[in-house]
Amino acid sequence: MAKYGQNADAIAALVREAEVHRDVYVDPEIFELEMEHLFPNSWIYVGHASQLGKPGDFITANIGRQPVLASRHADGSIHVFYNRCPHKGVKIASEPCGNTGKFFRCPYHAWSFKTDGSLLAIPLKKGYEGTGFGDTQANEGLSKVRNVVIYRDFIFARLSDDGVSFEDYFGESLSTIDNMVDRSPEGKLAVQATPIRYMHTCNWKMLVENQTDTCHPMVAHESSAGTAVKVWKREQGDSTETPMAVQLYGPFMSPYEFYEQSGIRIWPNGHGHTGVANSIHSNYSDIEGYVGQMVAAYGEQRAHEILGEVRHNTVYFPNIMVKGAVQILRNFIPIAVDKTLVESWVYRLVGAPDKLYERALMYNRFINAPTSIVGHDDLEMYERAQEGLKSNGNQWVNLRRLYESHEEQDVTAVINGTSERQMRNQFHAWSKFMTMNMDKRVEAAE
């Protein structure tokens, strides 16, 4: 009983001005349509160029349901393919990353491909003579993802052939990535650490929304951050220097006024960030030598401009969050309607002191790990929401906080930091990218 397939109106009706229907989180058909429409129509993060240091290096990823493969070619260029052999469909690369040498070789019948994806060789090639093989799609080698943009080493891809250009899609929101990269005295980031992986039995959008939900930390995290602050106050003894751990946990307990004043900025296409004026990352202690390095690299004024930008969470719609001030990217990878794999990546600021990297790794394991008590607080809420939404008592999720009637869509604005407007902004984008090509297909069929 397909309710939503090819029915753009029914999908659009799930998103009201300041409410969304529970089906966006719990309906398996909606999830399948997200995989088929929303993800291919959007620009999705594939990986970081530093993971592809030398020719032959590759990484694998998924865009929606579709497995992709990115590789560094001999000439230094980066290519993104569908991770699928043109012969019988076997996955070419099965590991998260590796080096394939000069070519990829399919493990089934040994067709091989250059690292730019072109077909290199087929065993017993003469068996294909006179078969018309030259005219088949298989002869072209690995199918290319045509829309790929590498922005300051961040590799993004869009699967659908037409759609919004990279520049129009992200616009000014790229300033968060800029800021994170600029925090390296050499203007360069490097992935050196395995990502922390965390399986969530909830819908992927709950995680994305939570990134700009500033009314939950002081409530949900009283158990973790609150306890950390309490234990520290009691046990610090004569020590005056706040340990790094307490600096990272403490600000989660900031009061509502703090979050109200810190502000949220929204951008078109569902992007937005918390922490405009200040943020939970504002008051970390200086790391010895770092400011000096930054001033030497950028000059006094620019260095302070870069370091003065302390954005909290930037949501890049649909499914990543970037935290510039601690060099973390969280990728919310949808697995099923009620299952999401979270990969939290730490980037090293090339040329910066080790202590900064140490802090970033510490933040990642304190907040984003399956062993993180802060993570336990959040996941518990998502799981309860996934259960609770089965209730028929009320089928709508309320996003009305600080709603103003006739809010403009796809605009840039700075608003009160406890507003749910960024969530409304995301759902507007959700509805747009879900139905984008659907409308066209319906037209074509008519």
Partner: protein
């Protein structure tokens, strides 16, 4: 005088304290400078500049323990329970003159909460120091066989 049996007994006792949720008694097994470490990489060397699942000092472990009983600790409603199934510890070093005591123990760990049951397999490496006549944990290192898998919540101690 610490001998091999004392080390083995200590490791069994530790598991029992965890299984019976005697958290304070468990914390008391640690040296004030002790650490609990769960690496995230194969044969990891560095807990600080390589990523870990946990690397905690006594203060942070106390936070965890205190949190478990917190009135607003929603992820512990209902509470988790755990079970350690240990292989006999292998004594890696037992040298009272140098004060070096190390053991490695293979185990299966089960954590349950509500209707859920999760199983983990790994190795615990203990390093001890002698304080008075007693052993204290200087480092407990927990290497899971599938450290790189995406886990759900791991709320207690392995």
């Amino acid at each position: 005088m610490i001998d091999e049996k004392a080390i083995t007994d200590f490791i069994y006792l530790e598991a029992e304290l965890l299984d019976t949720m005697q958290w304070q008694a468990w914390l008391d097994l640690f040296h004030p400078e002790g650490r609990y470490w769960m690496p995230l990489e194969w044969q990891q060397r560095d807990p600080v500049l390589q990523p870990s699942l946990m690397y905690e000092d006594l203060l942070l472990l106390k936070v965890r323990v205190e949190r478990l009983a917190g009135e607003r600790t929603f992820s512990q409603k209902p509470k988790s329970r755990c079970h350690h199934l240990l292989q006999a510890p292998r004594i890696v070093a037992c040298d009272p003159t140098a004060g070096v005591y190390k053991a490695r123990t293979s185990y299966i760990y089960t954590e349950t909460r509500g209707d859920l049951l999760e199983r983990y397999s790994g190795w615990a490496s203990h390093e001890f120091v002698e304080v008075g006549d007693a052993l204290k944990i200087k480092l407990k290192r927990v290497d899971l066989v599938n450290f790189d898998a995406p886990f759900g919540n791991i709320q207690l101690f392995m």
